[in-house]
């Protein structure tokens, strides 16, 4: 599919295109410098909703504007790697909290579309309309949801195939793609 993707298609990548995707992207659909609203992730927190235990709390390195918008970073380094371990697949309800800052421009019609895949199968997809962000503010969004139900065979397959779980997160402002995050996930046992 990727080979059919023309530059023009990527340039006009719309929320409709994102909704229609049925397999993980193999490339970035926009450049860091397309983030003209200077949306910056500050922190990502993951908790088990049933026990309240924090499973991950990742603070993004504090980078300046020049680094944030730099197109010099190789694509491989832009892909985020998560290592969760096999127990994660047994969780039922989780809360993911995203903390982000926005620059000095108003962000109108701010929309996020995220999809998670295992191999070429969609595990979970969702959309969130942030509506509006006040200039120069820090905002948080927590989403609490049930993890997809998986059979023991599926769990085993996921554990045995590290980084075959992938996600794409697209952020649009007034239907224009401003950010694309890609992540890959490993659920194999931690090295002891």
């Amino acid at each position: 599919m990727e080979s059919d993707l023309t530059v023009e298609m990527v340039e006009n990548f719309s929320p409709e295109d994102a909704k229609a995707m049925d397999k993980p992207a193999e490339m970035f659909y926009c450049k860091p410098s397309d983030n003209t609203y200077k949306i910056k992730f500050i922190r990502y927190k993951l908790r088990d909703y049933d026990s309240g235990i924090t499973l991950a709390d990742l603070e993004h390195p504090d980078i300046d504007e020049e680094q944030l918008l730099s197109d010099e970073i190789p694509d491989e380094e832009r892909v985020i790697n998560y290592k969760f371990g096999p127990d994660f697949l047994d969780l039922q309800t989780i809360g993911t909290q995203l903390e982000f800052a926005v620059g000095d421009k108003e962000v109108k019609d701010f929309l996020m579309i995220e999809k998670h895949y295992f191999k070429d199968r969609i595990l979970k997809d969702y959309m969130f309309d942030f509506k509006f962000c006040i200039p120069n503010t820090v905002n948080t969004w927590e989403q609490i949801y049930d993890l997809p139900e998986l059979t023991d065979e599926e769990k085993e397959e996921i554990i045995e195939n590290p980084y075959e779980v992938k996600s794409d997160t697209f952020f649009f402002v007034q239907d224009k793609l401003v950010m694309h995050s890609r992540a890959i996930y490993d659920y194999s046992p931690f090295d002891v």
């Binding site: 969130f128 006040i134 120069n136």
Partner: protein, 184 residues
């Protein structure tokens, strides 16, 4: 946990419900939200933008928006009115000096077209503090009896102890449900 009780009440018919929490700065909006979510309520700093909680359970979804209340950002509140099913207005029951400000902002909000019809729950927060005004006293200053063409209710609460929170949210969710049922 408060939240699961709420989400269980939202049945297929509604699918998605949206609550907006507003009030003057330091009223305790974020603390109420954190308490709902079973999160730590210590070390909460003033909200400059928003805090959103989305809870999905089976096919239902509840979105709760808490937008900062400082004077400089109140003019941005209007960006969040659309599709609001329920409005939660939080009052600092100990802040006697700003109660008139609080009344003015509340009535201004209620005159907004985009919020027409939204159910209103007024939380008289910080009841655990000495010298807190009672809900009768607050009702009188805010002139809530004059609110027309809207379902409203008022509830004493403490975001720190959690007292009153579930009753208040129970009421607003039930009220939204009954409205949707009647008109949907």
């Amino acid at each position: 946990m408060v939240l699961l009780k709420i989400i269980r009440k939202i049945k297929e018919k509604e699918k998605e419900m949206r609550l907006l929490i507003l009030g003057l700065d330091n009223a305790g909006k974020t603390t109420i939200l954190k308490k709902f979510m079973g999160e730590d309520t210590e070390d909460i700093s003033p909200t400059l933008g928003f805090n959103i909680e989305t809870i999905e359970h089976k096919d239902c979804k509840l979105n709760v928006w808490d937008v900062g209340g400082q004077k400089t950002i109140r003019s941005y509140w209007r960006n969040y009115y659309e599709q609001t099913d329920g409005l939660i207005w939080v009052v600092d029951s100990g802040d006697k000096l700003r109660l008139m400000d609080c009344k003015k902002e509340l009535h201004n909000l209620l005159s907004q077209e985009k919020l027409a019809g939204a159910s209103l729950m007024i939380f008289c927060n910080k009841q655990d503090m000495a010298g807190a005004l009672t809900i009768e006293e607050i009702s009188e200053v805010l002139e809530i009896e004059q609110i027309e063409k809207r379902h409203w209710n008022i509830q004493a609460c403490s975001a720190i102890t959690g007292e009153g929170l579930l009753d208040g949210v129970d009421w607003i969710v039930d009220d939204i449900k009954s409205r949707i049922f009647m008109h949907g």
